[in-house]
């Protein structure tokens, strides 16, 4: 029994040799996530940079020009004057030359001095409903400013004070950078271990292990150990770059983040391992690892789409996504300064998940060996 430890270590050493034998893969492993993080960190932005509006001004009055100037004054809009009927608007949208078209009616100036409400029509390209909504809100903001500059708003008997905590400027970068870290970590880890065992199956070295006195759990643990270290190093690099480069305010404990990130990495590695024991070939293993991590992490973890808005059945499914818990953890620690106790449940779930996956892989692996 006392021999258990060295055996694990020698299996780990063998895996390390295998990793070092292929320096290309190693370089790819370190460079790619960095490149991706930097690129996506800058690329992913909810904020719309430039809303192009075509203006049809039938009124041609000082007031209508004042309204147009109100839009010009905002940094978000680019206006161009546009003449044409509805067909031409369709054409404009199909060529993707405008996001919206503003139509100021003929008697705009006169009506504004007589009527309580004067309609100004905005035709918005809402093919992307999210972008459409954001554009509508931006437009609404300008209209409000215009109305206020003209007169007081309806009297409301109380004041509403809204405060945005943790991210007062609503910077989407703060929201996305932790998400990218979560995505990269889970994918790298799962892909790394997904082929460890299938590789041995394919190259026939599994038989050699079979005849050696090593126990299944020793093989599994020995194989995972080097990847924990590897993924941990990659994790530290990504976290550092993410926080420093994108100047994400760091509110919580760095130590706690490191510990819980390691737990997350172990969960993802165990997931890869589980896949590795199930898949017959490397190719199938990689495909499974990819399919199990890529889109589910994008869509079900809360990376972009809030979980609470999903249909209830799907919300239950999100409990199976490790990145969901890690997003609570990393966003919590970095942006809110959450403590361990506040993150107890996500941590617990990650712990349970990795334990279950590890035990299941060892079980499956032993039955593989016996048959």
């Amino acid at each position: 029994m006392h021999k258990g430890k060295p055996l694990i270590l020698s299996i780990a050493a063998k895996e390390v040799l295998h990793i070092l034998k292929d320096p290309r893969s190693l370089i790819i492993l370190f460079l790619m996530p960095i490149l991706q993080l930097v690129m996506f960190g800058y690329a992913l932005k909810m904020e719309i940079q430039e809303i192009k509006i075509g203006v049809i001004d039938y009124s041609q009055s000082p007031v209508s020009r004042q309204l147009i100037d109100c839009f010009r004054g905002s940094e978000f809009f680019t206006l161009f004057s546009f003449e044409g009927e509805e067909d031409a608007i369709n054409d404009l949208f199909m060529q993707r030359q405008a996001h919206a078209v503003m139509i100021i009616p003929m008697n705009f100036a006169g009506d504004l001095s007589r009527e309580p409400l004067v309609d100004v029509q905005f035709i918005i390209d809402a093919a992307d409903p999210n972008a459409g909504t954001i554009i509508r809100n931006y437009i609404n903001q300008v209209i409000l400013t215009f109305n206020e500059s003209h007169q007081d708003l309806l009297p409301i008997p109380f004041d509403i004070r809204g405060t945005l905590l943790y991210n007062p400027d609503r910077k989407s970068t703060y929201f996305f950078v932790p998400g990218i870290v979560a995505l990269l970590l889970v994918m790298i880890s799962a892909l790394l271990t997904s082929i460890t065992i299938t590789r041995e199956k394919e190259t026939g070295t599994m038989e050699q292990i079979l005849v050696s006195p090593v126990k299944p759990h020793e093989i599994i643990i020995g194989k995972v150990l080097p990847y924990i270290i590897l993924a941990f190093l990659i994790g530290i690099i990504i976290l550092l770059i993410g926080i420093v480069l994108f100047q994400v305010p760091f509110e919580g404990s760095a130590l706690l983040l490191l510990i819980l990130s390691t737990l997350y990495i172990i969960t993802a590695l165990s997931l890869g391992l589980m896949i590795s024991t199930v898949a017959p070939t490397q190719q199938v293993a990689m495909m499974l690892a990819l399919v199990a991590t890529l889109l589910p992490t994008f869509l079900l973890s809360g990376f972009i789409f809030p979980i609470s808005s999903m249909p209830p059945l799907l919300q239950y499914l999100t409990y199976l996504i490790p990145a969901k818990y890690y997003l609570f953890i990393i966003r919590g620690i970095i942006l809110k300064g959450s403590t361990f106790m506040q993150l107890f449940f996500p941590t617990l779930f990650l712990g349970i998940m990795s334990a279950v996956l590890l035990v299941a892989s060892i079980r499956k692996f032993s039955t593989n060996l016996e048959s």
Partner: protein, 373 residues
């Protein structure tokens, strides 16, 4: 020609023999589509809310019940303790706190213009902004509806305001699935063909069968074509299947031409499979091929406008999207489905995508030749 045909037959036999792989190719994308498409909603609902009511008057109770009546907000807690709210917010138990100060109701009736506070978890800035908007709208509505009972100190002046009339074209109901489901189809149908083709040559290299192929009278480009064509046929069938299911299950309205869609899908698959084969020519092991393919895939998805519009990106980064075939096809498929755009409007995207496919396959052939000799 005969040789290519034989090579194609061999490839097909190999693929069909691999049962788990067939499962991955045909079943996994369907399952993912059916599950993931429901995840997509830009609607913000069931925002978890804590209420701090120091006033406890009729008015404050009415305000709270106005919040509890919508499905936008789920009131999860009533408390007087700010520490608890702070803790809940950091533990992700609550997202928004409504604070009604003491004497709010009395001050309101005296016309003393009291304040009401709303604090939102701003980490997800987009959701936070929407949540705050909803909360303000509920309060404003309450304020407007109940102003009769409140003495108005402001003298009434005639109001003249501009009213925003919006017309949301192409997606009247702002249904995200109409926009996202075709996008998911594109992503799913990129992952599998690209991975398959990226690993195909490398696998033969690794198990040593590439040498055997080399000593056959097959020419290099014939060998590559023999690899590409089966993948192309298979992926095309897969695309037809997944697309049909997507349209039927999610009621995606098609405003354009199916023929055009079928044709451009084919061009897109050439570009992606070409990219996969290209990866296969410069990597040595399946592991390397997979990591490189993975890198390209994540890059392609994020830089395609799939969920973040390319317009939002800094201009210096937008340049990178031009080397991304998915960028073109993402725009094409959405425009065909939603706007019913014809080839005339899609000419630029189509040309660039086709050009991309030609270049990448030429590169693959060139690289493969050099490598072998």
């Amino acid at each position: 020609m005969k040789r290519i045909q034989q090579m194609i037959e061999k490839e097909f036999r190999q693929i069909f023999r691999d049962r788990p792989m067939m499962g991955i190719i045909f079943i996994v994308p369907l399952v993912q589509l059916l599950v993931l498409a429901f995840a997509i909603t830009t609607d913000v609902k069931h925002i978890k809310m804590s209420v701090v009511d120091f006033d406890k008057s009729r008015i404050s109770r009415e305000i709270v019940s106005a919040f509890s009546q919508t499905e936008r907000f789920d009131i999860i807690d009533f408390t007087q303790d700010f520490k608890k709210i702070d803790n809940d917010m950091r533990a992700w138990n609550t997202q928004i706190a409504l604070v009604i100060p003491a004497n709010f109701g009395r001050d309101l009736q005296r016309g003393a213009q009291p304040q009401i506070h709303i604090s939102v978890d701003g980490v997800d800035g987009n959701t936070a902004g929407i949540a705050l908007g909803y909360a303000q709208a509920i309060l404003l509505k309450y304020g407007v509806e109940n102003k009769i009972q409140i003495p108005i100190q402001v003298e009434r002046r005639p109001v003249h305001r501009v009213n925003l009339v919006e017309r949301m074209w192409y997606n009247l109901e702002l249904d995200s699935q109409q926009f996202m489901v075709p996008g998911i189809v594109v992503v799913l149908l990129t992952i599998i063909p690209m991975m398959l083709s990226a690993m195909s040559l490398v696998k033969e290299k690794e198990i040593g069968t590439l040498e055997q192929l080399m000593v056959t009278p097959l020419r290099k480009h014939q060998l590559l074509l023999g690899k590409i064509i089966p993948f192309l046929i298979l992926s095309y069938l897969e695309m037809a299947l997944v697309m049909t299911v997507a349209i039927l299950v999610f009621n995606i309205s098609m405003n354009g031409s199916y023929l055009l869609l079928a044709f451009l899908s084919f061009l897109y698959l050439i570009a992606t499979i070409g990219l996969g084969i290209f990866i296969s020519t410069f990597t040595h092991t399946q592991q390397q091929a997979m990591f490189v393919a993975w890198f390209f895939m994540v890059f392609m998805i994020i830089m395609s406008g799939f969920f973040i519009p390319i317009d939002n990106m800094p201009h210096s980064l937008q340049v990178f999207t031009y080397v991304n075939p998915m960028r073109y096809f993402m725009a094409i498929i959405r425009d065909i489905f939603q706007k019913g755009s014809g080839i005339f409007y899609l000419a630029k995207d189509t040309a660039l995508m086709t050009f991309y496919g030609i270049i990448i396959i030429t590169l693959a052939v060139f690289k493969f030749r050099k490598r072998v000799s």
